[in-house]
């Protein structure tokens, strides 16, 4: 479908819809429901140098129109992802965006160097925004200088373009976005989850064993829209938008905000067919709204941004 084809650094997407990292594993579970080649791309689960079990359970708690998770970057480790998961995914005609994580800069560069050599990895997603690990993760994404350094270090060793996943848990997200752009980022993905907590009615204690977790789902969509709207007007690199997308209308709204492609996260847990459903509905929605190509939607909200008051410290 010509009206859906998108070109981004490293990525030739047959459509702009992809599952978000952490909500799709390495695709195996979803391959029983549909052909993964239908997807624009796949953002695979965060990979760290060595296997990680993650946090104790309970790891999820439901909230109003959303969920909290504190999985803790569970993954089988770099060797297994390169040796088993990526070759398996290579049987599908779909570009892979490899989410990379770690607890120190050397972890990021080690994963980046090796995983970016895999033939189907077309881009990296630098995870400096996971709220559920004690070291690394969000600590790299909430300080502009640190975010820039880790971006630069990964860019130096990566064979493919690098997208940086931004955390919404900051006072000034534009500052971080500009810093990683300065550091050489080829694109941004945003937003990661919002830090949250739920307490048990009987015990008074947090439901999640980790205490706090990351909030995702429809509840965070307005936050994502606002942040993409603002950031997209202050950087010149493309944005893959995410945060609570469940319908084709949501996709259009993210493009209007300034996204050039989108990722669907939590909705995969509720409806495993959600990505192909949205892809199928997208052309008719574009036609209904009078667009020849999805890219015409990007940034429709821009223009009067100087009049919009953003609250900053």
């Amino acid at each position: 479908m010509k009206s859906l084809e998108i070109r981004l650094p490293g990525l030739e997407l047959k459509n702009p819809i992809m599952p978000a990292s952490g909500c799709f594993g390495f695709g195996r579970e979803f391959s029983q429901f549909y052909d993964l080649s239908e997807l624009g791309a796949i953002m695979i689960k965060a990979t760290t140098p060595v296997p990680r079990f993650g946090n104790p359970t309970p790891r999820v708690a439901e909230t109003s129109a959303g969920m909290l998770n504190a999985i803790g970057l569970q993954n089988p480790g770099l060797d297994k992802v390169i040796g088993e998961e990526l070759p398996w995914l290579d049987s599908y005609d779909v570009p892979i965006i490899a989410n990379i994580a770690g607890s120190q800069i050397d972890d990021y560069t080690e994963v980046a160097r090796k995983i970016s050599n895999a033939p189907n990895v077309k881009a990296l997603e630098l995870n400096i925004s996971c709220p559920n690990v004690k070291e690394g993760g969000i600590a790299f994404g909430t300080d502009a200088d640190v975010a820039k350094s880790v971006t630069r270090a990964v860019k130096e060793v990566s064979q493919v373009p690098v997208y940086v996943k931004l955390s919404p848990n900051v006072t000034n997200i534009v500052e971080i976005a500009r810093a990683v752009e300065d550091g050489g980022a080829d694109g941004l993905t945003m937003i990661n989850t919002l830090l949250g907590m739920r307490l048990d009615l009987k015990t008074g204690k947090p439901i999640l064993a980790n205490g706090s977790g990351g909030l995702s789902g429809p509840a965070i969509k307005p936050v994502a829209i606002r942040m993409i709207h603002e950031v997209s007007q202050h950087v010149s690199i493309p944005i893959i938008g995410m945060g609570g997308i469940t319908t084709v209308e949501d996709v259009i709204e993210f493009f209007y905000a300034g996204a050039s492609a989108v990722a669907v996260g939590t909705a995969n847990f509720v409806d495993p067919f959600i990505c192909p459903k949205i892809i199928e509905e997208l052309p008719a929605m574009l036609e209904k709204l009078g667009y020849d190509h999805i890219s015409e939607c990007t940034g429709r909200s821009w223009g009067k941004h100087e009049q919009i008051a953003y609250h900053r410290a």
């Binding site: 952490g22 909500c23 799709f24 594993g25 195996r28 579970e29 979803f30 029983q32 429901f33 689960k45 060595v50 296997p51 990680r52 079990f53 993650g54 359970t57 309970p58 790891r59 999820v60 708690a61 439901e62 909230t63 109003s64 129109a65 959303g66 969920m67 998770n69 999985i71 569970q74 089988p76 480790g77 789902g217 429809p218 509840a219 469940t246 939590t266 995969n268 847990f269 509720v270 409806d271 495993p272 067919f273």
Partner: protein, 260 residues
Amino acid sequence: MIKQEEMKVINQKEIAQSIYELTLEGELVSEMSQPGQFVHIKTGNGFEPLLRRPISISSINPGKKQFTMIYRAEGKGTELLSQKEIEKSVDVLGPMGNGFPLNEAAAGSDTVLLVGGGIGVPPLYELSKRLKEKGITATHVLGFQAKEHVFYEDEFTKLGETYIVTADGSYGSQGFVTDVIRDLPKDFTVIYACGPTPMLRALEIEYGHKKLFLSLEERMGCGIGACFACVCHTADDPTGSSYKKVCSDGPVFRSGEVVI
């Protein structure tokens, strides 16, 4: 194979306090092969609640394309489900997971015990029926909090010897399922159990040396193995990175396979 379907409500009734028996009809029933599997249900139409609810299958009727589940209405999701009337539809994803292995018990040579606790009792019903078809009459020990929560005593009694135990002693004997099992004169060779984690732990401590199969419960996200919400450590690597997912590797595990 897991399928998604809008299934039709055939019957729904409250069979004990806050305990509902719901029968649904649809093509998806033809995919249900083992006792102990579960379905993942979207109980509301919008985002409240957002996630599906895992509920175990209590009996399967392939001829009528119907299956029955028994659940406790105790939260937003299950309360919404309990309000679904006959002829209305329910969004079902399933069947999910791996159930109780029937071939681990042999007619003639094995003495089989089924142990259920509270809302863990339902999947044992289909299991007991299947064992009966194989020529095995199981003994049932079913634990509940109190008299008003007891259900399916007659149904289980028709299939085999059935003992009811309540925590407060208001019905049957007083105590825990393990108290009843200790007093039984039989020496069981195969035990299948489903119930709260402390009950499963107690069974593993006392009967872990036998063929013991435990159906685990854990908070789930997707139910298909993608979200990593319901993982547990494997027993041979209790603090390492090895894991099993309760939803897709389980929910039934052999005793000693995972840390509970």
